[in-house]
Structures are given as C-alpha cells and as structure tokens.
C-alpha cells in the first residue's frame, strides 16, 4: 500500500541522539523533540519566518500583522486557503484555542510566556485574530515564545482545535500521528529516527504551485561523529545537525567525498550561529563581584588559540554577544568607540595583572570554579584550552564537569564561578534584556533560565536603558542606537559576562542527491537543519518583496 522509500527520493538528515520515545510527538510536552522528529520543520508551520541571513520577515500562515497605536494589541491576518492535513481549514479558532489552552496549562511549554505577555486573544473573523497584550510592546512579533513567528528556533505552535479540544490532559496526550499544516506527514517513527512522507494535498501546492522535491525526509540517528562522517562519505546522508562534525573530521569527509561541503569552501567552513558563546561569571561571588577581576579574566583568554585548537579554526573570536549578521552590523559599528576604550577581547596578561593589582589582588589569589557541562563536547574542548590559559597566568582553576540535572542546578542556583553559555536569541536589544535585573534572584535560588541572569548581574541604571529600548519598535534603529550606546558603555565597564567566540554552525551538505543548498556563494537562506526554517530550505519561499519564488532543493543533475 505504501510507497517504497528509495534513496534517491529521500532527504536524509543526521540527528545527534536517539529518540527515546518516537511515539511522543506532542510538541508541548517536555519529552518530545520538536526538531529531531521534523515536527517544527515539516509538520507544523508558523505565521512568519525570519531569514536572519537576508533579513527578510517572510509571511507564511499569516499574511500580515498590525499593532494598535499604543502597541497594546496586534491584529494578525491569516492566509486564506490553508488547511490542516486532515482537510479541516486553518482558522482564527485554532489560534484562539491554542492561546487559551496554553494559558490554562502551566505545564505546557510557552505557557508562562503567554501568560506574562498576552491578556487575551479574540477572533475577529475566521481569518483575523486580535491579540491583546498586557503592556504595550512594539516588539511582540519578535517574541517567539508567545507569538508563532520563527525567529531562530521553536516558536509558539498553533494546534488544530478539532483534535486537541478532545483531549482531557494536553500534557499526557502523545499525539503520535500529528495533524499539522506542513507539507509532510509522519510515515513511521522509531528510536533511530523518523521518516516523513510528502503530502500531495498540502495547501502550499495549491496556493504557491510548488511541490517540495524530496518525497521522503528522514531524520536519522547513525551514531556519533565517526559514524556520521562515514555515512556522509558513503552518501548515506544528505545533511547533518549542528555540532556533529568537527572541522578535522569534516575535512576528512570532503576529501573522500567532494560532493560534501558546508557554508564556505575553506575555513571556517561554518556559518555563524546566532548564539555566540560567552563565559558567565558569577557576579555575586567575591572576588568576581569586581568588574576589574572579570575584565582581567577576559584579558587572560587567548581567543584565537581557543578558535584554533578547540574549534579547529571554524569560527572567529567574539567581542560582543550577537552574531555579525548584516542586520546587526549597525549596532556593532555604533559601539566601536566603547570597544576601543575596553578592548576586553585582546589577550593581554600585563593588562590583566594591572587590573588585578588595582583591586589589590594577584593571579594566585584567585581560584576559579569552572563548571563544565560534561554532556557538551564543545564546552569540554573549550574548557581544556581556557583552563590551561588561566592556569598559565597563575590563576587556580578547578574544572568541574557536571552532567544532567547537576549541571542545570549548579548554573541556575549560581553554584559556579565561571561557566560557558550560548547567548540567544541574537538580536542585540533582546540579548541585552537577558542582563535585566528583573531576572535577578539571589544565590541559592533558581534563576529563570541559564542566560537569563544566572550570572546575577544587577544594575538599575542599565535596566532603565534596556526598558527604554524595549519600548521602541525594532525598525526604529535611529532612536534605539543612542540608548544602545549608553547601555553598552555600562555593560563593557561592568563586563558581567565574558564574550568568547562566535558559534560555528558547521553543517555539512551533500550535493550527491540534492542540490540548491544555501552556501556562502548562494546565501539565499540559513544553512540549518534543526530550525523551523529548515522547511523553507527544502521548499523555498516567495520573496516578501517581489513574490518571486526563492530557493528550494532540487534533485541533483535534474
């Protein structure tokens, strides 16, 4: 009855771990994995997609949004003709239902964010919804946790009302055969992966007159780095997740299989991920409560050596906490003078000693408890190099590799002196909000989130400037930048965390079966396989300005 899965018709993407329970496809349950199963790439779809690479905000399930004048509400116009995979139309009812479901069930992901930001959601008509906000917020459309627009990762997902309203407990509902609006449906799912099959009745085919090229998409677990490399060399894979291949291994693969490449042809190969790495310093733990000490630590780190050794050259040192995408460049330029004043990213042991001496300390007085997530290879690699650098300067370093909840607990409760952390979501202003003292909790209590101030920074002066920026719409760059400059002057002076490196997203693409992958020569999209935007990498999208169809995969040589 079913179509045979043939290699040539299949897009195979390696995932980093087994799927513990492949029947659990409830995107809101803690135990489901939205991206290793293709749930948010191919099953569900979102109102808007943000192409960080090009800066486009691409309408998809919705056509447009509009804020009220005081920014306290927003009206979204849904696209006509969208249907769920069981044929039911996608309407405002589904949107209202989803928001209300989340408000009622605190155990569901996104629930807390929705409760904090959204007062109510009203159906205007079947294609128009009005979202009433608790406070005026011109940036709500960027709040992925409370609005179904994909920034970089898993946004709020709209559920089919006619399915979910029948479930008594939306948390224990496994949703093994999910009904979504996307171009694929689940064909079968096992621990080693999920096979998705193209739907011929996808609404997009009718509306856009396009069909995604691969008949099947497989998210498959083939093992660790070695196995992934072997499978890529053997053309058993078309792409892989982030973090599966190191540069050395990747080069080995490309040497054996010239059809495999990544974003760039040469080093760094990798595309910069939106979440740069920083070292969280515990601002409440003496002597790290002194900005001079934090700055001294920053000067003791040779970032280029970290890049060369731990990342094998696939990334670049960072001096701030956002990726250098085109849209962010104005922000970086605006603070060039501050950077000059505080060249915290230069490796300068002499300067470090001066700074320490200024507060009456010597390197040997300082003992750093460096918590390392032992489940994260990247952190492990970095920590080796960083610990050695600090030790060489005379600082005592106690590396503490932790796993699982021990690791999470130590971070949230502030039980560390130093630890590595990605800083997301990668918009400069949103990233500064992470340092707001509204997220501050004393040592020993759990911070709301890792980078949401588990480093315990607390500066009201800085808070005020951040609040000021958050009240401005994102495109009001002229107004934002001066405030931003002032905020960053404080930030660099205090240096609550230490920027480390940009994050390499080394994603291998195999051109043997499929071509059209985004690359630095043809940067039409982001080279990602784990974000919701992967759906657009496969299908392509209409240019928001011209309406012309952009990108999408094609069978090789076809």
């Amino acid at each position: 009855d079913q179509q045979e899965v043939t290699r040539a018709e299949t897009l195979k993407i390696a995932i980093p771990a087994q799927i513990t329970d492949p029947t659990n496809l409830n995107i809101y349950a803690a135990g489901s994995d939205r991206s290793a199963t293709g749930l948010h790439q191919f099953i569900y779809e979102y109102f808007f997609y943000n192409n960080l690479q090009t800066g486009e905000f691409i309408p998809w399930l919705a056509e447009s949004y509009e804020y009220s004048t005081d920014n306290t509400s927003m009206t979204v116009k849904l696209r006509d003709g969208v249907t769920w995979s069981d044929g039911q139309p996608f309407t405002a009812d589904d949107v209202v239902f989803t928001y209300e479901l989340l408000a009622k069930n605190p155990g569901m992901g996104n629930s807390a964010e929705v409760t904090k930001a959204v007062k109510s959601v009203e159906k205007v008509d079947s294609l128009n919804v009005k979202i009433n906000l608790i406070t005026g917020n011109p940036r709500f459309h960027l709040n992925r946790e409370a609005f179904p627009a994909v920034g970089i990762w898993g946004a709020l997902t709209i559920l089919p009302k006619h399915i979910w309203e029948k479930e008594a407990d939306p948390l224990t509902f496994k949703n093994s055969d999910p009904v979504g609006t996307g171009p694929y449906r689940v064909r079968d799912a096992s621990q080693n992966g999920v096979t998705l099959e193209r739907r011929d009745d996808w609404w997009g085919t009718k509306v856009f007159e396009v069909t995604p090229a691969p008949r099947f998409v497989q998210f498959t677990f083939v093992g660790d780095e070695q196995n992934v490399a072997l499978a890529l060399s053997n053309n058993d894979l078309d792409a892989a997740w982030i973090g599966l291949l190191s540069a050395g291994t990747f080069q080995q693969v490309t040497a054996q299989n010239p059809n495999v490449r990544a974003w760039t042809q040469e080093l760094p190969f990798a595309w910069p991920d939106p979440c740069p790495r920083g070292l969280m310093i515990n601002n409440d733990n003496p002597p790290f409560d002194k900005p001079e000490v934090r700055q001294a630590l920053s000067h003791l780190i040779d970032r280029q050596a970290v890049v060369d050794l731990a990342y094998e050259g696939t990334t670049t040192p960072a001096w701030n906490i956002w990726p250098e995408y085109d849209g962010n460049i104005p922000y970086s330029e605006a603070i060039a003078d501050i950077h000059e004043q505080y060249p915290i990213d230069t490796f300068d042991p002499a300067r470090a000693e001066e700074l320490l001496a200024s507060v009456g300390l010597q390197p040997s007085d300082i003992t750093v408890r460096y918590v390392v997530n032992a489940d994260n290879v990247e952190e492990q690699k970095n920590s080796q190099v960083i610990a050695d650098q600090l030790t060489a300067a005379g600082i005592n370093v106690e590396v503490q590799p932790l796993t699982g909840n021990a690791n999470a607990d130590a971070r949230l409760k502030g039980d560390f002196d130093m630890t590595q952390q990605p800083f997301c979501p990668g918009y400069p202003v949103e990233n500064l909000e992470l340092f707001h003292s509204k997220y501050y909790v004393p040592l020993g209590e759990s911070a709301p989130w890792f980078e949401r101030n588990s480093f315990r920074y607390n500066n009201p002066e800085f808070d005020a400037l951040v609040d000021q920026m958050l009240a401005l719409p994102p495109d009001a760059t002229d107004q934002i930048l001066p405030v931003f400059h002032d905020a960053m002057a404080i930030w660099y002076r205090d240096l609550p965390i230490i920027p480390l490196v940009e994050t390499p997203a080394l994603v291998p693409f195999n051109f043997t079966y499929w071509e059209g992958w985004p690359t630095s020569e043809d940067p039409w999209n982001m080279p990602v396989t784990w974000w919701a935007t992967t759906g657009l990498v496969v299908t392509g999208y209409p240019d928001p300005a011209t309406g012309e169809w952009v990108g999408g995969l094609e069978p090789a040589g076809g």
């Binding site: 899965v5 087994q18 513990t20 329970d21 029947t23 659990n24 409830n26 349950a29 803690a30 135990g31 489901s32 939205r34 991206s35 290793a36 605190p106 155990g107 569901m108 992901g109 996104n110 629930s111 807390a112 964010e113 409760t115 904090k116 946790e145 898993g154 948390l171 224990t172 496994k174 064909r187 079968d188 096992s190 621990q191 080693n192 096979t195 099947f216 497989q218 498959t220 677990f221 083939v222 093992g223 070695q226 196995n227 072997l230 499978a231 060399s233 053997n234 058993d236 489940d375 796993t403 699982g404 909840n405 021990a406 690791n407 999470a408 607990d409 949230l412 759990s446 709301p448 989130w449």
Partner: protein, 334 residues
C-alpha cells in the same frame, strides 16, 4: 533438604530484589540537585519555553517530587506492586514501561545470542585445548590469541570493527538495529536485516567474551585432570574421549555454568557501551541516556529490570544446578 535449599535461595532472591529496589530508589535522590533541572536542560536543548520555574513546579507536582522522600518511596513501592513504573521525565508523557518494552527485545536478542555463542564456543574449545595440554600448533596459537582478545577492551574492538567492516569494507551497516524505514515484523527480510545489523555489535561482544570463556574453561579442565575420578576412569580403561566428555567436561561445566549466570550482570553492563557505540536501541543505551539526562523513573525502572533479571538468572541457575550437580541437594558442597 532440597526444600530447605529452595527456600533459602528464594529468601536470598527476595532480599536481593528488595535491597536493590531500595538502593535504586534512594541512591540518585540522595545526591544534591533537582531532578527536574533535567527538564530544563532538555527544554533548552529542544527549544521549549525559557520561562522555567512555573513549568518546573507543574512537573514537580505531576511527578510527586513535592512530597517527602519516604512518601515518594512508599508510593513508588505501591506503584511497583501494580507493575506501574510511572512516566519518564525526559520523554514525558511516555511511560517507563513503554520505553523499556521498546528496548528490551533488542538487548535480549543481542545478548542471548552473543552470550550463548561465545559461551558454547569458548567452553568447547577451551575444554579441548585444556585437555590436550596445548600440544599441537593449533592450540598453541589459540591461547595467546584468546589472551589478546580478552585483553582488548571491547569498545576498542567495536571501533576497530566499525572501521574495518563498515567503512573500509562496507559489508555491514554502521549502526542501528534494522534498516531505516523498515517495519519490524517477522518477515524473512526483516530478520535478515536484523541479523545484518546485529553482526558487528554481536561480534564485538562475542570475540571478547569468547576469550574469557576459553581461558576459564581451559584452566578448569586443567584442574580437573588431577581429580581422583579421572585417574579412576583411566584405570577403568576408558577411552580418552569418554573420559573427557563424561568425566572432565561434565565436572568442569559446573563452575563454568555458574560463571555464565554471573556473567549476565557483567554482559549487560558491557553491552551498554557496545549499544552506545553502535546506536543499538537496547536497554543499555536507554539506561545510558536516561542516566545522562537524570531521568529517574527510567533509570529506576530499567536498572530494576536488569537487577531482577540477573537475580532471576542466578535463581534459575541455583535451581538448575542441582539437576546437573547431584551433590548440591545435600548441601555438602559450597
């Protein structure tokens, strides 16, 4: 006397299981740290909400972690009595029993096959080499070979096997238990597929344990050669083949069989790394993942399963033992 023996074994069996249950429950809990920290890590890695605490509270309530330790322990026991192992934390809302039920057949298949193959082969060859005293060229090579195999860590063997037979000569698949996209059923295709996938993991276990069984049986047989009944059998003019099988081999088999039962404990532990390396979806891998993710209910459930099955294996061995060793019934041995 035999009844007494059974009762005693049964008591030990029950005590073992009970003590293990208790250890398995308390050990992870006595370590500082919030088990639900795992949920946060998990959510952060799969892109859920970033507004931790409310969500955590909800899960804490659902898992009964807001209750006192003793309350948790007793509700755990009563749940267990009903055969309910609760929900997994990491794969919520999956049930622990489902996760285990998915994984167990693979492990059992892999382990029973490899254990039996290596035990039978190692025992036979070891016995023969031990008996002939390594006088021919063949057995002179075997002993150092077994030594070498035995001293090779099995994970290294696994890596080498992958390198050789999945990459250099891609005869076998890299990982997994069956071809991707295949549907588990009992068709010939599927079974061949499973065997094809199982060969390398099995080989890495078989080769190493083969060395062990070989060396063990060899030394047992050598020890047998000094027994009075062997001398007596020779004095009876028996053919050496008969002496070997009915006398030396039968008697040496007893400790070797005990070793088999005891080795289950070690083999499952060993399979853990093998399963991890080959991404074999068995119980070892499940445990490994849940330990890394601090998924207590799953750890509890699967460790318990292993302990109980090892205890059952030991118990069964204790029950079978009297059948092969008539002396045991009198308690005059041990």
């Amino acid at each position: 006397m035999f009844a007494r023996y059974i009762l005693e074994r049964l008591a030990i069996f029950a005590a073992t299981v009970f003590v293990s249950i208790t250890i398995v429950f308390f050990m992870p809990r006595l370590v500082p740290g919030d088990p639900l920290g795992a949920v946060m890590s998990r959510l952060s890695s799969v892109g859920g909400s970033m507004s931790g605490q409310e969500l955590i509270q909800e899960y804490r309530r659902r898992f009964g972690l807001d209750k006192s330790l003793m309350e948790q322990y007793f509700s755990f026991l009563s749940q267990l009595a009903r055969g309910d192992l609760g929900y997994s934390i990491l794969s919520f809302p999956s049930r622990v029993t489902d996760l285990i039920a998915n994984a167990v057949p693979w492990t059992i298949g892999l382990l029973s096959l490899t254990t039996i193959i290596s035990w039978v082969l190692g025992t036979l060859v070891g016995a023969i080499v031990g008996w002939t005293g390594g006088r021919n060229r063949f057995s002179q090579i075997l002993v150092p070979l077994a030594l070498l195999l035995y001293t090779t860590p099995y994970y290294i063997l696994a890596i080498i096997l992958i390198y050789l037979f999945a990459f250099y000569w891609p005869i076998f698949p890299l990982s997994g238990a069956y071809e991707f996209g295949a549907r588990p059923d009992f068709s010939l295709d599927f079974i061949t597929d499973v065997i094809h996938h199982g060969t390398l993991p099995a080989l890495s276990i078989v080769l190493v344990s083969l060395g062990w069984w070989f060396l063990s049986m060899r030394s047992l047989i050598i020890a047998e050669q000094g027994a009075d009944y062997i001398m007596w059998a020779e004095a009876k003019g028996l053919k050496s083949r008969r002496i070997f099988w009915a006398y030396a081999f039968r008697n040496a088999l007893l400790p070797q069989a005990t070793g088999l039962a005891l080795s289950f404990a070690h083999v499952i532990g060993g399979a853990l790394i093998t399963e991890a390396i080959f991404a074999y979806p068995g119980i070892g891998f499940l445990i490994y993942n849940s330990i890394k993710g601090s998924d207590f209910p799953v750890i509890q459930g699967s460790v318990l399963l292993i302990i109980v099955s090892v205890a059952v294996a030991n118990f069964a061995m204790d029950m079978i033992y009297p059948l092969i060793d008539p002396r045991i019934r009198t308690g005059s041995m041990r």
